[in-house]
Every structure is written in C-alpha cells, then in structure tokens.
Amino acid sequence: MAAVDHSTAPSRRVVLAMLSATVASLDAGSARAETADMHAAIKAFAKGSPITKGKVKIDISPLIENGNSASMGVFVNHPQDAQAYVRKIAVFNEKNPQPEVAVFHLNPRSGTSRVDTRIRLATTQQIAAVAELSDGTFWSDQVEVIITIAACLEE
C-alpha cells in the first residue's frame, strides 16, 4: 500500500487556510459600497438640496443577529395631511454592494409617515434615511447597526 505523498499535494489544512484567506479577501474587496458611495446616493436623491439632520427616525435594533433579515421602520415627525406631508423617504446603507435600500413614496392619504420593512445588511455599518417634505426640504437620520451574522455571504 502506497503512503500518501504529502510533498507535492497541499495538505487539507493548507487548502482550508487558503480557501478561508480567499473568502476573506473577497469579503473585503468585493464591490461593497463605500461611505462615499452612500453619500453620493444621498446627494443624488436630494438633487443637491441641503439636508438637515432631524425629524426623521430610523427604528432598528442597534444589535442584529441575522443580517439577512433585519426589521426596520422609518418615520418622520411631521404632519401627513393635505397642507403639509412627507413626500418620500429614502433609505441608504454604507457597506452593502449597493448603497440604495428603498424609496417610499407617500401622500396626504398615507395618514402617517411610518413604513416598516425587512432589510439585508452585509456587515456592521451605518444606515441613513432621508425624507423629502412637501415644502421641498430634506431631513435625515443616521444610525449604526452591529451585525453578528452577515447577509450576502451565505451558501
């Protein structure tokens, strides 16, 4: 019976180490949106208008176990009637492959500006929400969310 030749083939341990190193480098280098991309996306949404911090509130747990499905709500501390209302709320992320999450379009018939959904978060990062009001002003909120199991890397 021939002995297994360890000199030419890399050992299982070495292969595993190489694989995990490759995965790690993909993780760091793949097309993740940088902070600059998020700011560019926010700027594009506001069409260059000034954005004031306030009125908007992102309702998300600061520590999330599963980044594949994180419950998130947004609302704006502003009336929602024919005289004054929230037109749009856009949600952005810092480090997923793309900075956009969703844009919600509201109107006086919405009654409130509360919207709830579930989002994917690739890693610990900042989440931003920007609201456009009927008077044309833009308001924002930004929170950090810590992820313990990331999205996008499963399977």
Partner: protein
Amino acid sequence: MAKALLKVPKTARKGEIITLSAMFSHQMETGHRRDAEGQPVARDIISLFTCQYGGMEVFRADLHPAISAYPLMQFTTVATVSGPITFTWTDEAGKSWRETAEITVTA
C-alpha cells in the same frame, strides 16, 4: 399557496388611519450570491411595489437588493371608501403579480 400574505382590516371607520401589511413570496436574489457549484446566481428582484385604493395610488416603494427575501411592506393609509385594496409587485423584467383585499368602511 398564495404568493402573498396580506394584512388588511376587514372594516374601518371613514377617516380612520389603518395599517396595511403585505409580504410577497420572492427570493429577492441579489446577484451577488453563488450556488453550490460556484456559479453566480442571476439577479432577480421585485423592484416596485404599489398599493391602489379608492381610485388612487396610496403607496409606492422602489426596492433594491438590500430588501430581504420575502419582501415585507407595512404602511398606513386613511380609510376612505369600501372596496378593493390592490397590491402589485413588479420585477425588473416587467412581470407583475397582483393581490386584492376588500375593506368595508362605515360612516
């Protein structure tokens, strides 16, 4: 099994703010994943969700891959008239799915 899970109140008073919730059976494939053979899985997402009620669009959402699989949308609207509330999901290829719930609005 229905493609969607809707939560719509059966009755409401006119002028009451009601919460509508709609979950759709869709993987929201991001295009960033690989299958067991290492092949990239093509992007396939619902990019538009709308809700029609009382002769107008009462809610619209533009969605991106950062929305989870089985996309859930929960929002509010003012109860105005009895009739259908229609939810529509559209993917990036333009295919759409529609689900309707009835509401009775009392004075």
